[in-house]
């Protein structure tokens, strides 16, 4: 790995450096200074004003300006308001929120208290998925220690500001990352979304004005208050400020969490920080935004990454999953994988999402089985457009993105599945044939002995033959052959 300092750590500034189970370790790195300073010397409006000027946008996926959200919540009058932290991280392959909660839980406690001070709330709730037991343990420990130190509770730092936090556990439903569904789940209702407006800033938890932000968004708050809005606004691109944490996964050498300034290119992320593609293979695409995003290809390698550029490219920022794919990945199968996920995770409230996901999945499955037709392609497009227009919440509206994006960028691959009944990447088993290369086969019979369905025939020292009708495409023969005489095509 090159020692180039392409990364800039703000949200993960303390992750891996301090003991997450010690409030003293956090205080040493200027912990709670932003909160103490705010409640002592700043008015609540100064705090949301700083958030507005920093240009920070929500890191959970939507990218809504955080400061504006706080301002609206602060301006709405009510006897009680709430702060909610969305820690229901559900994107396949994304784990930055868990890393922050496990590595620096006090930064979330501090940021929630700051948000409470800014909007006039005295109570905060973290909605965290029960699948994160260590994150829950450390966060609960942080809350207890903060209470004991008087950082949470009544009259924080001698001011008149009171704030406390409790945890609510989610059962791991993907839809509960959607803010209205999350709020219903916290209230004990089914985790189903409702139409917006009203936005939570107006009527959220228990019908009261609620500021709801993602873990990574909160993790940026204390540095903004300590270093100033101008400092933060100086990082990133014109419309996307600061940094973004990505979970780099897939066929790349250095998988892991990376935090990079907005505006960095995919080229820098994959080939410099990521160290390039595994096994010297050829880069094919990268999926950003998880099941709600799309595929970016070689021609997008030099595009500066920010919220708006990704949307313009038919993908989205999402929560920051970044799955790198090489020449051995089949894009139809990738789209099918994500649809399988959304089909499982749809809450079932609205018809376009509940039934549409199933129908989309069936069509993709048909194509990967080699039974697709040209009409299936136009039907996929038509249904995708209809779902985008009519689904109730973000989950449904973005669900067709992986299909639309791969269909536009890898049209030839869909065509190969449908017209030639071939999978160019060699992934869709129904479309593959295992064949013996006559020139390489020495007739050792190893493959015939390995074949579980005995469909390989041939005498010793003669070229063998695979009977296609009986072959179950298990690949046992390829693994056994020492001469590279069996290939998939």
């Amino acid at each position: 790995m090159e020692a180039v300092k392409k990364q800039y750590r703000i949200a993960t500034r303390n992750c891996g450096f301090i003991d997450p189970e010690s409030i003293e370790a956090y205080i040493q790195v200027r912990g709670y200074e932003a909160l103490a300073e705010a409640v002592t010397n700043k008015k609540p409006a100064d705090v949301w004003f700083l958030a507005v000027n920093s240009g920070l946008r929500g890191r959970g996926g939507g990218g809504f300006p955080t400061g504006l959200k706080w301002e609206i919540t602060a301006r709405n009058q009510a006897d009680q308001k709430y702060v909610v932290c969305n820690a229901d991280e559900g994107d396949p392959g994304a784990f930055m929120d868990r890393a922050v909660l496990e590595g620096d839980p006090h930064s979330i406690v501090e940021a929630m208290a700051l948000c409470g001070y800014a909007i006039g709330a005295t109570f905060g709730t973290v909605y965290i998925r029960a699948e994160y037991p260590l994150a829950i343990k450390r966060l609960q420990m942080a809350i207890n220690d903060a209470r004991e130190a008087g950082v949470l509770g009544k009259q924080i730092f001698g001011s008149s500001f009171d704030f406390d936090i409790e945890l609510k556990y989610g059962a791991g439903a993907f839809v509960c990352g959607e803010e209205t569904a999350l709020i219903h789940s916290m209230e004990g209702e089914r985790g189903e979304p409702t139409t917006k407006p009203p936005f939570p800033a107006e009527s959220g938890y228990w019908g009261k004005p609620t500021a709801i932000n993602n873990v990574e968004t909160f993790a940026n708050i204390a540095p903004i208050l300590l270093n100033g809005a101008q400092w933060f606004a100086g990082i990133g691109t014109e419309k996307s400020k600061g940094t973004k944490v990505f979970a780099l996964a897939g066929k790349v050498k250095n998988v892991g969490l990376i935090e990079v300034p907005m505006g960095i290119t995919l080229q820098e992320i994959i080939f410099e920080i990521g160290g390039g593609i595994l096994g010297g293979k050829k880069f094919k695409a990268v999926q950003t935004g998880g099941p709600s995003g799309g595929a970016l290809t070689e021609k997008d390698l030099d595009t500066p990454i920010d919220y708006d550029n990704l949307i313009a490219k038919g993908s989205m920022m999402g929560s920051g999953g970044m799955i790198v794919m090489d020449e051995d990945d089949c894009m139809v199968s990738v789209a099918k994988f994500f649809l399988d996920f959304t089909m499982d995770e749809t809450c079932g409230k609205c018809t376009p999402c509940r039934i549409g996901s199933k129908r989309l999945y069936e069509m993709l499955d048909k194509i990967t089985q080699g039974k697709g037709s040209a009409e299936d392609l136009s039907r996929l497009k038509l249904l995708s457009a209809a779902i985008k227009d009519t689904a109730l919440c973000g989950l449904g509206q973005t669900m067709p993105n992986p299909i639309l994006s791969t269909m536009s960028v890898f049209a030839d691959e869909y065509a190969a599945h449908i017209n030639q009944k071939k999978c160019p990447a060699g992934v869709c088993t129904a479309l593959l044939e295992y064949v013996v290369v006559a020139g390489k086969c020495v007739g050792c019979t190893a493959c015939a002995r390995a074949c579980p369905v005995s469909c390989i025939s041939g005498k010793v020292k003669e070229v063998h033959h695979i009977e296609q009708n009986s072959c179950i495409k298990c690949g046992a023969c390829i693994e056994r052959c020492k001469f590279g005489a069996i290939i998939k095509q």
């Binding site: 090159e2 800039y8 750590r9 450096f17 189970e21 003293e24 200074e33 892991g256």
Partner: protein
Amino acid sequence: MAKINSLADLSKRREQLLAAAAANTNTIVNVSLGTCSIASGGQKALNVMKDAVAQNQVGNVEFKQSGCMCFCFAEPTVEVTLHGREPVVFGYVDEAKAEAIVKKYIMNGEMLDGVIPVNYTKA
């Protein structure tokens, strides 16, 4: 921890903690123990190093834990700070490597393979 009553109180507390840290001449061994670090053997690495320190009667070694160091490809990871030196992060710390960290780097200051370079700037 005693209650912190004001901004001044917090600053004072921080200064005390920083002074104590500056006066600390121990070797500090910081093991990454997030969920994935533990899954890849971080706890085992910590146990092996603790045993090696006890067996070899190495004094002045302090073990700490942290969350994810964000080097998933090289887990388990261990950061060692010898007194007066820059912290060094070792990756791929299996049992043999954990023992070598104690016997070679901590006891003799002898550098090992698998050091992860600093590739970030911090806020």
